[in-house]
Symmetry: C2
Subunit: 235 residues, 2 copies
DNA sequence: CGCTACATTGACAGCGTTCAAGGTAAGTGG
DNA sequence: CCACTTACCTTGAACGCTGTCAATGTAGCG
């Protein structure tokens, strides 16, 4: 039973998160969950705000409650690479380095839980399940990066877009083949997939013309031919 | 003082490894080092052999003693992506997933230390430094993957090659600007950099013609203009 | 209405892939 | 020692995808 104060309009963390990456609470007892909730602060930010910047001290681990964020990395010469999009349930800032090696920008209004990393990691020393779960979260993040690496190394523009769509379908809460809301701009997609915005636009047009996808609105996608889209995305 | 048996032609692990990634022993006492060495088996394999295959159970963590290996991933449609090259001191098989999501092939005769992962991780529960060091190793692996991701997303062919050269210069033991031995084939480079073998060949010719690099032998590279090569590789 | 930000489309050039031919080096067997 | 094989690498030519530059279209907002 929880003893800490929770504003009544907020559901306990382990009930409000639906994504499969919501793993910190996995296998934990209620008492353990309460201690984990005890070190979490809830914060909000608006579309366009940065949760943290590249090279800032990596003080916190975050867990997305609502909204979508983009992880991005900018190099000396100004080129930007988006390393991933994160959704409710996803974790960010899970690193052992003293500074973040990337920035996190919110694409929508976003609510997150913020864990002080030192406190989280020392709590993990007491709660074996938590330690396992942190490792599990890291492992999943790593697997996704490997997928993206493969896509960037081996796939053509329209295949990369299909990969993104399948990822959204699998990970974005509420996404269905007939309705996937794209919270990111074309530029964000381009920077994620290693393309230009024009190529993204043209590839979308091609996929549309071929009857694989459709747009009900500018940013609402429909996957018309899921088997073919899956096949093109296949890693 | 070491009490376990070490064949006399083999130097203790923590003395034989020079790479900066040799981090498992960092900050450990001699007693701690001995217990870590106690769970290590030494094995060898020939060029072309696989240390482990994609989807095999992830039973072991390896540490390269001598030689060079390539981490690779093959997809359903047969396209191959090389995820990295590893050198003496580097670790591989560091994952929390029950199966390896990639294969590891040796490019040369290779000696490795093999740690049973369960034993390594339970030993880490007793030795705080070891746990920290494992996390540190994971973190470095992750950072390198992010670098590669950026390269694949944003760089042109000749820039990607410069990136590889700088990586080799920094990480391959014995590499100097005027002599870098390339243990991998052109095809391996291509699969690492997301290019075709022909593009690799042509880009090498271009870099040579521009006076940035030279070849003393087919597989022995010389970086002639290090500042320019570094600049092109810049992440 | 006009402003702004974002997205699409067109024309064209260039980079990288593809297909094909030729070259190089090491190893094998007569 | 030399022809032959094999694996790897280089080079050429043509094609096509993607990037670049520029213009146009669209949606939201004051």
């Amino acid at each position: 039973m929880s003893t800490i104060y929770i504003p009544k309009h907020i559901r306990p963390m382990h009930e409000s998160l639906t994504n499969s990456d919501c793993a910190l609470f996995h296998d934990m007892t209620n008492v353990e969950r309460d201690s984990l909730e005890g070190i979490a602060d809830q914060t909000k930010c608006n579309a366009g705000d940065y949760l943290f910047r590249q090279n800032a001290p990596s003080d916190n681990v975050y867990n997305v409650i609502t909204g979508t964020v983009a992880i991005e990395r900018v190099s000396n010469n100004g080129r930007r690479q988006v390393l991933g999009f994160l959704f409710p349930g996803d974790y960010l800032g899970v690193t052992n380095a003293p500074h973040y090696d990337c920035a996190v920008r919110s694409l929508t209004k976003t609510e997150v839980y913020k864990f002080n990393r030192k406190r989280l990691y020392s709590l993990a020393d007491e709660l074996p399940h938590l330690k396992t779960n942190i490792a599990e979260v890291s492992s999943r993040i790593f697997c996704r990066i490997l997928d993206q690496l493969y896509i960037l190394g081996q796939k053509k523009a329209h295949e990369r877009l299909c990969f993104l769509f399948i990822q959204l379908l699998e990970r974005l809460p509420g996404a269905r083949p007939d309705r996937i809301e794209l919270y990111m701009t074309r530029q964000d997609m381009a920077d994620y997939l290693g393309l230009t915005i024009e190529t993204v636009s043209r590839s979308l047009a091609k996929l549309k013309a071929d009857g694989l996808i459709a747009f009900t609105q500018l940013n609402v996608l429909q996957i018309v031919d899921l088997p073919k889209v899956s096949e093109m995305a296949d890693i």
